[in-house]
Amino acid sequence: MNAQAPASDKATDQVTEKASSALLQVNNIEAIYDHVILVLKGVSFEVPEGGIVALLGANGAGKSTTLKSISNLLRAERGEITKGSIQLAGQRTNDLTANEMVKRGCVQVMEGRHCFEHLTVEENLLTGAYTRGGASDVKSDLEKVYDYFPRLRERRSSQAGYTSGGEQQMCAIGRALMARPKLILLDEPSMGLAPQLVEQIFEIVKQLNENEGVTFLLAEQNTNVALRYSDYGYILENGRVVLDGAAADLANNEDVKEFYLGLSTQGRKSFREVKHYKRRKRWL
């Protein structure tokens, strides 16, 4: 514990220096569940305005917890941030509610999509604009979302629970857009979807980023796709950032290739060998 203290001070110092450039800064946060289970052990990273940043890592590495710490959904699951700070546009947000985070322009699209099953697709989208009150431009935003996701326009009056997985993912992203966010936290958008559909959804994410200026922080297990569409990546393992770099560099990094892309200098290896190798060599 004592040994870590100076490190966290240093991290805070860095923050003040860079405060101007990054939209989101996460400084050395620790998160625990149920007062005992330590999931994040000092995670730091930042997301520049207008960027797409990927958090990569295996199951249980702490990607989802990181996103929930930022959006403050963590508290609804008996979790809390015990150390470190999170800053959105230079302001500390640790103690805000999820509602206040959305009002400040940070919306999370949860893992597993979480559409409102018994509401129609259109009602789902409209609910996304809840925090904007009775704003008059909600209708035009709805049209905009339909332009990005034409499939949703076709399914607008179906109950969301009866739409396909891809449509639900689109619905969840569209719903988040309706809040007019600056930053979308996208958790595992590829989960359970066919590769072609994953490609399609990431393509739309890219477009939203370029045309609407929405910043994305995405948590993905699908390292390959995530690195192709993002600018910068952080790799999490056991609640710590073990490696970070520009997306292109990460994709060419030998270790990343081996651990997460299943490739090595000898070309594609069998999964069994990779696993075996992983047992012997670890980062940190």
């Binding site: 959006s71 959904l73 609804a76 699951e77 008996r78 509610t97 999820a98 509602n99 985070m101 959305v102 009002k103 919306v107 999370q108 699209v109 949860m110 979480h114 559409c115 409102f116 099953e117 018994h118 509401l119 009602e123 789902n124 409209l126 609910t127 996304g128 809840y130 925090t131 009150g133 009775g134 109950q159 629970g161 009866y162 396909s164 997985g165 969840a172 719903r175 988040a176 309706m178 809040a179």
Partner: protein, 311 residues
Amino acid sequence: MEFLQSIFVTPFVEIVDSPYFFFEVFFGGLMAGVMYSLVALGFVLIFKASGVFNFSQGVMVLFAALNFVGLLEHGVPIWLAFLITMAIMTALAFAVERLVLRHLVNQEPIILFMATIGLAFFLEGFGETLWGSEIKPLEVGIPNDVWFMGDAMIQQADVFAAVVAGAMVTVLALFFHYTRVGRALRAVADDHQAALSIGIPLNHIWIIVWAVAGVVALVAGILWGSKLGVQFSLSVIALKALPVLILGGFTSIPGAIIGGLIIGAGEKVAEVYWGSVFGGAIEEWFAYIVALVFLFFRPQGLFGDKIIERV
């Protein structure tokens, strides 16, 4: 043999013999059912939006009626008494959120349920302290005559109650489907976490549903009260809402309404035609037996939310 005959033959012969009498019984039962429906409706609202099984709903009916009748006794005009009681029920909603729900977030449902039992006892005692415990007659100008349809007698008060209940359900349905807050309530009912993730503040939603449930309780209390007088047994009648909920499904507003009608009509008809076979007074337990049978064969009730599962 005689026993079987008295169950399977005689009642039906009687029904065919005097259809007007049957109609009268049936209709009277439906109208009692409307009252059950109103109480059940309050349960459903709160259960849907917060997953809390609100045991105190019946006492809320009593509490609202007590306040209303108490204000009337002090010479407050009816419309003002109605508005003040609505304000009291809304204040109650705020208090419940602030003092109870907020501190029990994320706890097991059984703990929240226990909290509402506590709330029930509190409200009952508090109401008694404020307004005394004697039976108070309630007169709000609901018509008291009877109509005749052929030989069947229909209480105008019953019809009035049905119209009020129908209007209220319609308003609620419109509210849930066409307003921003209504949609948010349904969203919360579907998925708490997703609702949080898009910034719907659960605390506000709880206050709103408790307030709405309070107003529903007030209407139910006025209708019951003008029929039976405002008395403490009102909260016991509200227990009949439980079999109604099991029949209609805990999550369905139409279910609460139709469940109430079925239970109301069913128990009256059963009492009149089959009561003597079982030695009378089966009205008291008929509803619970129906509920039990439903629990065996269709636990989600007639209209409970279909669990959507994609395969």
